[in-house]
């Protein structure tokens, strides 16, 4: 595993000969190499710095035994550290066994919220849940139409109102659920920037109105350094329960996930990896760690 990386690290360590232990001096080039890999994978500058410090702490004083190269040793330390940071095992969403399960989907513009909402609806419907999609994006041109089309494709009804008031859509959808006996509600909201106070207030209000079982933050896996800013702001506003990493069918390394994990400490629950509605996976920390380190 991670041959390329271990070789790179070995190369960085080649300069030092005949040392049985990893020391501050002999791993400094190596750490620079690792930092570079993390930054190239879009891990945030500060997060990468802290991560390197942690790896250094773990590596120093380690005996290099004959059976593995120092490169392999350090690679293992990094990998384990990444997997731990990304969340140990995988956790799916909580489904309320008695009352209604309400899932609120939030995030920046174009991150993949509407597509994810439909994918999740499909998944939960297949588990015999009675699902309703709620079109609470009243701004984006044809957003409601988009959700209706996707809802039709997964055979899940879509609740929408003609009125231009997202808060009203949210509160009315709760009444509708009670009347019609749905047990699972997925609310698709408009994309918004974390610096847009009015829009952030709106999503906070919607959360207050529907009191969701789970609030999920959808983030594009191609996101760069700014991921920490938006995730932090969304978390402060809606205190989300989990992260959905979208567009992982691209070739971005997905280092933003590490940044977000470390600044908000919330688990990644799903991976969205395609435009088709079956392209939804639960999250495996080891897979993403491998991806970030380049296999």
């Amino acid at each position: 595993m991670f041959e390329e990386l271990s070789l790179k690290i070995d190369a960085a360590l080649k300069k030092i000969t005949g040392q049985g232990r990893l020391t501050e001096a002999n791993i400094s080039d190596t750490l620079r190499e690792i930092r570079r890999i993390l930054l190239d994978a879009d891990v945030n500058y500060k997060v990468a710095k802290d991560f390197i410090d942690k790896v250094k702490e773990k590596a120093l004083g380690k005996e290099v035994i004959a059976s593995i190269t120092p490169g392999q040793l350090i690679t293992k330390i990094i990998y384990d550290e990444l997997v731990e940071l990304l969340g140990g095992g995988h956790s799916e969403i909580f489904l309320n066994p008695t009352g209604a399960t309400i899932i609120l989907v939030v995030g920046l513009q174009g991150s993949g919220k509407t597509t994810f909402s439909a994918k999740l609806a499909k998944r939960l419907k297949e588990r015999k849940r009675k699902v309703l999609l709620v079109a609470a994006d009243i701004y984006r041109p044809a957003a409601i139409e988009q959700l209706k089309i996707l809802g039709q494709q997964v055979d899940v009804p879509v609740f929408s109102l003609e009125q231009k008031d997202a808060r009203l859509v949210a509160s009315e959808s709760l009444k509708y659920v009670k009347e019609k006996g749905f047990d699972t509600l997925i609310i698709d909201t408009a994309g918004r920037l974390h610096v847009d106070e009015e829009m952030m207030k709106e999503v906070a209000d919607i959360k207050e109105i529907v009191k969701p079982t789970e609030t999920l933050f959808v983030v594009d896996s191609m996101t760069g350094q700014d991921a920490v800013n938006s995730a932090k702001a969304f978390n402060e506003t809606v205190n989300f329960d989990g992260i959905v990493l979208s567009k992982l069918d691209g070739d971005a390394r997905g280092g933003a996930a590490i940044s977000i994990r470390s600044v908000v400490g919330k688990p990644i629950k799903f991976v969205s990896n395609g435009e088709k509605l079956e392209n939804l996976d639960v999250f495996y920390p080891d897979r993403l760690a491998s991806r970030i380190l380049g296999k």
Binding site: R36, D40, R140, D220, D226, A252
Partner: protein
């Protein structure tokens, strides 16, 4: 540290600013190396002067955009491409509005026949901008929509054709082939067309933006970039790598979801913004 050296703390801060703007570790390194060299012949090592020098270095990398193309071929065909959700359709709406306001006769073609409600979305934008649209049905062949749009433009004497395309990840061969088919259809009308092919890049994108630009330019010759969503806190620093590697100018920036939120790119403002807190 002697007199000739600028203190490491300042350089670290500059590095942090550059890297957190998504400029990339390699480009940041190169810029800082160049800055070091430039500083050798400088007596003034004040923060102001260091900032001035770094802005010069950054400015050298960005290709100047020449937005004003004087001689106008009619119809002037503009294709907009990019990965999913970056802001292609919205940018087309804004461009259509701007061209219309300049007095041109504009038509848009809904060649995204894949995304749910892509046509309806563009239709709303066309209405807002007050321009004509060639609609499409979901699942239709995008190149036939392109053909129909340009044919209509030629027959009815339109000035500007704007083609919206489906979002596609650059690592999906079949979708990239579809794009090259669109290009072929356009070339049937005129060998010089498309007159502009604009790659839309989400301003919040990290290092993947460079690969996007490289892969798209392999399939269709890119004439410019639109960097969107710069109304947030992202700085859009990845354009430096794209500019360095591919020499593609930035034409416009998107600064909001409204129809007037598209601005012509201004190099100095863009570079200054890297050093401003938002």
């Amino acid at each position: 540290t002697g007199k000739a050296q600028i203190d490491d703390n300042t350089l670290d801060q500059i590095e942090e600013i550059l890297i957190t703007s998504d400029i990339g570790a390699e480009t940041a390194e190169m810029i800082i190396d160049n800055l070091r060299k430039a500083l050798k012949s400088e007596k003034d090592r004040s923060v102001e002067n260091v900032l001035r020098l770094i802005k010069i270095e950054l400015s050298k990398i960005l290709i100047d955009s020449n937005n004003k193309s004087q001689s106008f071929i009619k119809p002037y065909i503009i294709v907009v491409v990019g990965v999913n959700g970056v802001g292609k359709t919205t940018s087309i709406g804004k461009l259509a509005y701007n061209y219309k306001n300049l007095g041109y006769k504009v038509i848009v073609g809904a060649a995204d026949t894949f995304r749910a409600a892509a046509n309806e979305q563009l239709e709303i934008w066309a209405k807002l901008a007050g321009v004509e649209i060639i609609n499409s049905n979901k699942g239709a062949d995008p190149s036939s929509v392109v053909f129909e749009t340009i044919k209509r433009a030629v027959d009815e004497n339109y000035d500007i054709v704007l083609i919206d395309t489906a979002g596609r990840l650059h690592n999906k061969t079949n979708l990239m082939n579809e794009l090259s088919k669109i290009k072929k259809v356009i070339k049937k009308f005129s060998d010089s067309a498309p007159h502009e092919t604009l790659l839309v890049v989400d301003g919040t994108t990290g290092q993947n933006a460079l690969i996007q630009a490289i892969e798209f330019s392999k399939v269709i010759e890119l004439t410019g970039l639109i960097i969107t969503k710069l109304d947030g806190t992202a700085k859009g620093g990845m354009v430096f790598q794209i500019s360095k590697k591919l020499k593609i100018p930035i034409k416009y920036i998107g600064v909001g979801e409204g129809i007037e939120d598209l601005q012509e790119f201004d190099k100095e403002t863009f570079i200054s913004a890297l050093f401003e807190l938002k």
